[in-house]
């Protein structure tokens, strides 16, 4: 089970949260001009990296607020948790071997 630190409530078990998929996917600004391909990219296509991934979580049994988590999809290590109004943090540098 993941241990995720809610920016407001602190560290809680994964079971308290809901998952929301990739973070930082803005709604397109020019919707009237989008092609079918561009709509498909927004609606159906998300990054699926093997490694660090910025994703949304919601603290369902706590403050019920959405926030973002930077997590490694291979090791499942939670690298950072941050509010929606904060930018994606740079990857933490743990020694020189990452």
């Amino acid at each position: 089970m993941l241990l995720i630190t809610c920016p407001w409530c602190g560290p809680r078990d994964e079971a308290e949260y809901h998952y929301g998929g990739q973070a930082h996917v803005p709604y397109p600004g020019n919707t009237a001009d989008l092609t079918d391909e561009e709509w498909a990219a927004y609606v159906f296509y998300r990054d699926n990296p093997k490694g660090p991934f910025a994703e949304r979580w919601m603290h369902g049994t706590g403050c019920r607020r959405w926030f973002n988590v930077l997590r490694d999809t291979t090791t499942y290590e939670v690298l950072a948790a941050y509010r929606l109004d904060e930018p994606r943090p740079a990857l933490p540098q743990a020694g020189g071997n990452r």
Binding site: M1, H18, F44, R46, N48, T73, T74
Partner: protein
């Protein structure tokens, strides 16, 4: 019903050749789908200058990690056609491959616990019959006749209100399926190359002409991807995107028991599916872990929930013990249907997005993917499953329709 000893298997089922410098077709991924594709390329299309590249060992990914359920009782026409074709192939493959992989048509029950479940189930039985898929609607008493250990009393939290039943569904021994396909593909001239990881694609403009691997460059006329959870990683290397998300999917087995469970039981609502393997383990699984993951493991609370569901349905399981749990990496599409067809890269084809249900489709995935690679055009069965559907909007929305929650 008695436990069956597994058949003896010979020392060597395939050669382990060094990769040659070029092939007509390279398949990436020696799981069930990759092996079935190679087999049907050779058998149906006479294309035998084929290599199947596997980064790990043969059938060591999801082919080693599934719960071996085979059924074709899908709601939608396109899906029913695909999975029913697979079931027809399953029924003749043991003889065709001369390998008894313990395909056991013991039926599958899909339980209904709510009025909505009942309506969905009755509707699906009708749709299945119209599509030539064997299907029945059973009352709780009839469910108890098929599976006496199932608790159909009205005193449970989610009583069994009925079930759909597909008698021709069942299970098979997954490793033996892979070995049967591998042996025959090898006999037909296919090179099965283990420990060979694709690290890049060799392209001539927009056309793929080979792959880079940890064992050197291998050229190919056509390349087919059958890499399940790692399909996005390969697509990114090749320069295009796939609308899939990779999730952990966990399963577990108990220790060995005398035969107590005569069929396969699936329940969406309390969410578990259970069968009993030939050796005697109770085999169960449920839904994916919610988060994206390539770790071949998930979170324990998911296991806990599926065991709680299993004990709710089968009180007799309360004293069984978990022997092992494990996870695979499944690639899930937005409409919970697979993608089989061309990619934006010429001569590069993809078979992916089978999500939680790829094992049952193994022969049909191979049949249609081989056809697509050999002819450059989709087989009628996989034409609706093209990548373009996410742009045209012609989705095959099996989320909630496929008799299982994804």
């Amino acid at each position: 019903m008695t436990t069956q000893p597994l058949p003896e298997h010979p020392d060597f089922l395939w050669r382990n050749p060094e990769p040659r410098s070029s092939y007509d077709v390279i398949i990436v991924g020696a799981g069930g789908h990759g092996l079935a594709t190679a087999y049907y390329l050779a058998k149906n299309h006479g294309i035998t200058n084929v290599a199947v590249l596997e980064k790990g060992w043969l059938a060591g990914g999801n082919m080693a990690r599934n719960t071996t359920i085979i059924r074709s009782n899908y709601l939608l026409d396109e899906s029913a056609a695909m999975y029913e074709h697979a079931l027809g192939l399953w029924e003749r493959l043991p003889e065709e491959l001369e390998y008894d992989f313990l395909f056991s048509q013991r039926g599958v029950l899909n339980l209904a616990h709510t009025l909505q479940d009942v309506r969905e189930g009755v509707r699906r039985v009708g749709a299945n019959r119209l599509n030539g898929v064997d299907a029945q609607w059973l009352t709780p008493d009839e469910v108890a006749e098929v599976c006496p250990i199932l608790n159909v009393s009205p005193d449970t939290r989610y009583p069994v209100l009925g079930a759909t039943f597909q008698p021709r569904a069942g299970i098979a021994k997954h490793d033996h399926v892979a070995w049967a396909l591998a042996r025959r593909a090898d006999e037909l001239g296919v090179d099965l190359i283990q420990g060979c990881e694709v690290t890049g694609f060799v392209k001539d403009g927009d056309r793929v002409v080979g792959v880079e691997t940890n064992r050197g460059r291998i050229l190919a006329g056509r390349v087919g991807l059958a890499a399940a959870g790692h399909s996005s990683v390969l697509a990114e290397m090749a320069g295009f995107r796939l609308p899939v998300q990779s999730h952990p999917l966990q399963a577990l087995v108990s220790e060995l028991h005398e035969p107590v469970h005569p069929t396969v039981v699936m329940s969406n609502h309390v969410h578990v599916y259970v069968s009993q393997a030939h050796k005697g383990e109770l085999v169960m699984g449920a839904g994916v872990d919610a988060y994206n993951g390539y770790g071949q493991r998930g979170s324990f609370h998911v296991i806990e929930h599926q065991m709680a569901a299993a004990v709710e349905l089968f009180p007799v399981f309360a004293r069984a013990h978990v022997l092992r749990t494990w996870g695979g990496i499944v690639d899930v599409t937005p409409d919970a249907s697979p993608i089989i067809g061309a990619t934006p890269v010429e001569n590069l084809y993809v078979n992916c997005g089978w999500g939680t249900g790829g094992f049952k489709a193994t022969p049909a995935a191979g049949w249609t993917f081989a056809h697509t690679i050999a002819t450059g055009e989709p087989h009628p069965l996989n034409a609706p499953f093209a990548l373009e559907r996410f742009t045209t909007g012609a989705l095959i929305d099996e989320h909630g329709a496929a008799a299982v929650a994804h």
